[in-house]
């Protein structure tokens, strides 16, 4: 008997194989449970109950994910990836790593939303939409076929549109939702067209089979069609990750949406876009780099990465509105993560390192960016204005949260004292060793620029004197406070914990290239 089969059987004998999808199932059931509770008692607006149920769901899903990650489910050490449903679903290290990001961001956002939604009519809808969007994202992480990729992408997008427009009496929120929806619908169509072209060329939708077809040279004669298909699929991912040239929706949507939703979209939704992009390109389109040099998608991503870093950071530097500044900064960070795709080469020895570093950056970014947007949520909750001047002297009213905000800002900028530094360092270092020093150079220069606008926030909240803007502050929202502090603690703890995160990410990424 084949020895690998024995180990697989022995190690996976404790649980049936479908339990590998446990996190997705828990998230989906939590969403349904919220709807059931609201259907039984529709008149009772139990904001606290819903928050507890959904936070519990997200944390249980996170717990299962971390357990699987530690136990080695679906990873190289324990018999490799687990495929389900005729290979349409694959659970491996990368899927679990990203599911951990989604569920932790979701948990933070839920805890923060409890205060934000106080006195709001339809809080059950908010939490259930959030859970369904997270379910969609977790499903994106495990998709192994272009159909599951598309369906899960829509599953994550549709609740997001509704969440952005959740404040339906607020014109900004509704406008943001409409813009997000229209651009989303357009890019879904482009993405779907791309899928159809790839199917036309390869005759399969499974990523592994597409890869095999391309490696066999099955694309010969159809390189044009395949190239357009790859380009269209890349466009769909550029939309989901808010990268240039499909980034226009992001500042509008993040600014108009309720701030916890902006936190969710800019962290979890962006990471979700990256996980499918990583999987589709690293698994299905990798042979194209080798066999068909004409379809050099890595070069396309390199151009996009440079443009995204430059546009995001320069636009952020000119903003007066803090939330909008953060929106553009999140576009800039999408540019950094794109290096994970741009610095790939055919059979390159550093592919796993580059992509792993991008994954680790997305993990740390998940905490620091969520925290920063939740701080904005707290300021919105108080009713203090939106510009840098309005933030003047906030530290006198909320010193602890302002310490946390300073941590987020410096970490996002990549100062060498917080987690953000190491993730950027690992990313740029791996890009250099893969031979893409110019990507790293653009990244380093734009990071230096980003320090300017991030430190403006810190200067406003810590150094400037309040100008009567803080009189409206009355209460201390406990949930928001707790979520912000927790995100800050995670950002700081990821400084000593970074090697572990990077190692896990690199192992997971390398498994894709094996």
């Amino acid at each position: 008997m084949d020895p690998t089969v024995v180990t697989t059987a022995a190690l996976q004998s404790q649980l049936p194989e479908w339990t590998a999808l446990g996190p997705v199932i828990v998230l989906g059931l939590t969403g349904l449970l919220l709807l059931t509770i609201d259907a039984i008692w529709p008149k009772r607006n139990a904001n606290t109950t819903y928050a507890i149920v959904s936070a519990a769901g997200a944390i249980i899903a996170l717990g299962i994910t971390v357990w699987y990650l530690v136990a080695g489910t679906g990873q190289e050490t324990h018999g490799g990836a687990i495929t389900l449903f005729s290979e349409a679903i694959v659970v491996d290290g990368m899927a679990l790593f990203f599911t951990a990001i989604f569920t932790s961001v979701a948990a933070l956002v839920i805890v923060a939303s409890h205060d934000y939604l106080k006195g709001h009519e339809n809080s059950a809808e908010f939490y259930s939409l959030l859970m369904f969007a997270t379910t969609g994202m977790a499903l994106m992480a495990v998709s192994n076929s272009l159909v599951t990729v598309f369906v899960s992408l829509e599953m994550a997008s549709l609740p997001s549109y509704a969440l952005v427009g959740f404040l339906k009496k607020d014109r900004g929120s509704v406008e943001a939702s409409l813009k997000y929806f229209l651009i989303g619908a357009l890019s879904s169509a482009v993405f779907l067209f791309g899928i159809s072209l790839i199917y036309a060329v390869t005759g399969s939708l499974l990523l592994t089979e597409i890869s095999a077809q391309f490696a066999d040279g099955g694309v010969a004669g159809f390189a044009g069609v395949a190239g357009i298909g790859v380009l269209m699929i890349a466009g769909g991912f550029a939309y989901k990750t808010a990268s240039v040239p499909f980034h226009f929706w992001a500042p509008e949507a993040y600014e108009g949406a309720p701030a916890p939703v902006s936190a969710f979209l800019s962290s979890a939704s962006k990471a979700a876009g990256f996980v499918v992009a990583f999987r589709v390109f690293a698994e299905a389109f990798m042979p194209l780099l080798e066999v068909t040099p004409a379809i050099d998608w890595a070069l396309a991503f390199a151009v996009l990465a440079v443009l995204t870093m430059v546009v995001g950071n320069f636009a952020a530097a000119t903003q007066e509105n803090v939330k909008r500044m953060l929106a553009y900064s999140s576009i800039g960070h999408a540019g950094y993560a794109l290096i994970g795709l741009a610095a790939l080469t055919a059979g390159g020895p550093h592919n796993g390192d580059v992509m792993g570093a991008a994954m680790a950056h997305l993990l740390i970014y998940g905490f620091m960016n969520t925290g920063a947007f939740l701080f904005i949520a707290m300021v919105e909750y108080w009713g203090v204005g939106r510009t840098f001047e309005d933030y003047a002297g906030l530290s006198q009213k909320a010193p602890l949260a302002c310490v946390a905000m300073a941590v987020f800002m410096f970490s996002l900028a990549g100062l060498p004292v917080f987690g953000g530094f190491f993730s950027k360092y690992a990313l740029f270092a791996s890009a250099v060793s893969a031979g893409f020093w110019w990507l790293a150079a653009v990244g380093a220069v734009t990071s230096a620029l980003s320090l300017y606008y991030y430190s403006r926030v810190v200067k406003a909240i810590w150094i400037e004197e309040p100008n009567g803007n803080l009189d409206v502050i009355e209460s201390k929202p406990t949930g928001l406070y707790a979520a912000i502090i927790f995100a800050a603690v995670a950002t700081v703890l990821l400084l000593p914990g970074f090697p572990i995160a990077l190692e896990t990410a690199e192992a997971a990424a390398s498994a894709l290239f094996a």
């Binding site: 349904l32 709807l35 059931t36 609201d38 259907a39 039984i40 529709p42």
Partner: protein, 137 residues
């Protein structure tokens, strides 16, 4: 070469209607009248403009619920056709279970929408007033 036929078809397809309209514009007498330029509403006299037309948002809710279950029927139909064969092959649990789960998820959504008033028609105060006025007269 085979594309020439398609191009010719396109030219003819666009040319014939344009030619017919041009010919009739040259030949027909022009007698403008109000009745001719008014929108045809099956004999009803049209009121208002086409752009200020508003309809109740609740139609949208009903339509949405309808579409969900309409699509569901499309899925259930082929499943029902092969159901008895499928039971013989994979057993009743694997043939019936997934469909029950699917319908169950949809049912939770429907019950939720129902309980939260998605299908209860809001009363329009203006319509009610008009109705009573007509009743009094």
């Amino acid at each position: 070469m085979s594309w020439i036929a398609i191009g010719a078809l396109a030219v003819v397809g666009v040319g014939i209607p344009l030619g017919m309209m041009a010919a009739s514009a040259l030949l027909r007498p022009s007698v403008p009248e109000q009745g001719k330029s008014a929108t045809y509403e099956s004999g009803e006299i049209p009121t208002g403009t086409a752009r200020s037309f508003k309809f109740n948002i609740q139609y949208y809710m009903v339509a949405l619920l309808f579409v969900v279950f309409d699509i569901e029927t499309v899925l259930v139909f082929p499943w029902a056709v092969i159901y008895s064969d499928a039971v013989e092959v994979v057993g009743i649990t694997r043939a019936l279970g997934p469909m029950l789960l699917f319908i169950g998820i949809l049912l939770i959504g429907l019950v939720w929408a129902w309980r939260n008033g998605a299908v209860s028609w809001t009363k329009s105060p203006r319509a009610t007033r008009r109705k009573t006025e007509r009743g009094d007269a």
